[in-house]
């Protein structure tokens, strides 16, 4: 069993990247849930996923309950949302403190692995919501003083994908999500970008960056904004419940939506008796690395006067879209 990866093949004509191809080798593991007792799904999901595992487990738990037609007790969503929020904060920290500096390779701004590790430990050690909120408040103060990465100059980009709106589970439940949807998701036939940019695009600072054509920087700043927002929400539990919800599709069929660090995650369960008849997981990476999706559209036409420049442009764009598996770039001569 391989770990999964994205192969990004770039067609380069010596002056620009003229096209790109994405081969996704992300294993589709939802099939591993078929036949399980519904009560075992959440634990099995925790076992299967290495990152965003709290988000995956919360989606599974909500999906089972909605398929069974169970009503959630007041506050139940808040309880499920807390580990998701803490996990998202940790993921955002790794992205900003390790992934970006590693790519930019600026000797004056090395990856801040020790800082990231310290904050992750403190967040993990927070025993309850109150202590988590206190750690998060410290984190926000530290972020205000931290020297965070800048992605550098951006060339004008060509086509871009629209941003996926923040839809509640009730709206996703109205759509027929078939097996193909997990591999090539779309909204009314339109491929869209999910993630922090889509969620934070309404903020004035992000709108300005988008208007200036600085889409990669907009993604990075959107992540920072979201970090601040999540940290503040830990002290105000009802705000966290916007991270996730669920809705029965029909009898014995449930759908759950969870906002993860990388974007919107959907789970859909068709019960067969009290077991899993069919399970579908739609991950954010499949939106952002769709064959006609944000990566492919935005990299097309990108100026690059050397292979090295082309590789850097592709890696920078891919990182800004934050896939959940490693990626590699290769070249096809135009």
């Amino acid at each position: 069993m391989h770990e999964g990866s994205l192969d990004l093949a770039l067609t380069w004509d010596g002056k620009r990247i003229v096209a790109a191809t994405v081969v996704s080798k992300r294993p589709q593991v939802a099939s591993l849930l078929r036949g399980l007792p519904a009560a075992a799904v959440s634990d099995r999901v925790l076992q299967l996923f290495g990152i965003c595992r709290q988000a995956q487990a919360a989606a599974a738990a909500l999906c089972v309950r909605s398929a069974r037609g169970e009503r959630l007790a007041p506050g139940a969503l808040d309880e499920l949302a807390l580990p998701v929020a803490l996990e998202t904060i940790s993921e955002h920290l790794c992205h900003l403190l390790i992934a970006w500096p590693s790519l930019l390779a600026d000797p004056s701004r090395p990856p801040r692995v020790a800082d990231c590790g310290d904050w992750r430990r403190r967040l993990r050690a927070a025993a309850d919501r109150r202590s988590a909120a206190a750690v998060a408040a410290d984190l926000v103060g530290w972020l205000g003083e931290a020297d965070l990465p800048s992605p550098g100059d951006e060339s004008p980009h060509g086509a871009v994908a629209p941003l996926l709106p923040l839809l509640p589970a009730a709206e996703w439940a109205c759509m027929e999500l078939m097996e193909d949807f997990a591999l090539r998701p779309n909204l009314a036939g339109e491929v869209a970008e999910t993630g922090t940019l889509a969620r934070q695009a309404g903020a004035a600072a992000i709108t300005r960056l988008l208007a200036a054509g600085r889409r990669i920087e907009a993604r990075l700043r959107a992540r920072l904004l979201e970090l601040h927002s999540l940290a503040a929400a830990l002290a105000d539990p009802p705000r966290l419940s916007a991270l996730l919800d669920a809705r029965p599709v029909r009898a014995d069929v449930g759908l759950a939506r969870v906002e993860t660090a990388r974007g919107t995650l959907l789970h859909r369960l068709d019960l067969a008796g009290d077991g899993v008849g069919h399970y579908l997981i739609v991950s954010p990476t499949e939106w952002n690395f769709h064959p006609q999706g944000p990566f492919v559209r935005e990299i097309g036409g990108c100026p690059a006067d050397s292979r090295r420049a082309a590789r850097f442009a592709a890696e920078r764009l891919a990182l800004s879209l934050d896939p959940c598996v490693p990626f590699s770039c290769s070249f096809v001569d135009a």
Binding site: L32, R53, V325
Partner: protein, 82 residues
């Protein structure tokens, strides 16, 4: 990786680094984000960093699950063109 594929630590290296066994291939990873890792432990790795330490029982169960169902979970991927 998005999957929790456990990797066994085969050697500890200076600078909070280690060599882990991934499907029989040695791969160098950072241990800076996890605590108290020893040779023989299992870790979950993402883009060069060990994120979580697993106890051996849990790791072996997960490996058995992936081994048993790996073929079904990893079909030959389609190639998409822009």
């Amino acid at each position: 990786m998005c999957l929790a594929l456990p990797c066994r630590v085969v050697e500890l290296l200076p600078g909070e680094q280690a060599t882990v066994d991934v499907d029989g291939v040695g791969r160098r990873v950072s241990l800076a984000l996890v605590d108290e890792v020893a040779v023989g432990d299992y870790v979950i790795v993402h883009v060069g960093y060990a994120l979580t330490r697993l106890d051996a029982d849990e790791a072996l169960k997960t490996l058995a699950l992936f081994a048993e169902l790996g073929q079904a979970a990893a079909p030959e991927p389609p190639a998409w063109s822009a």
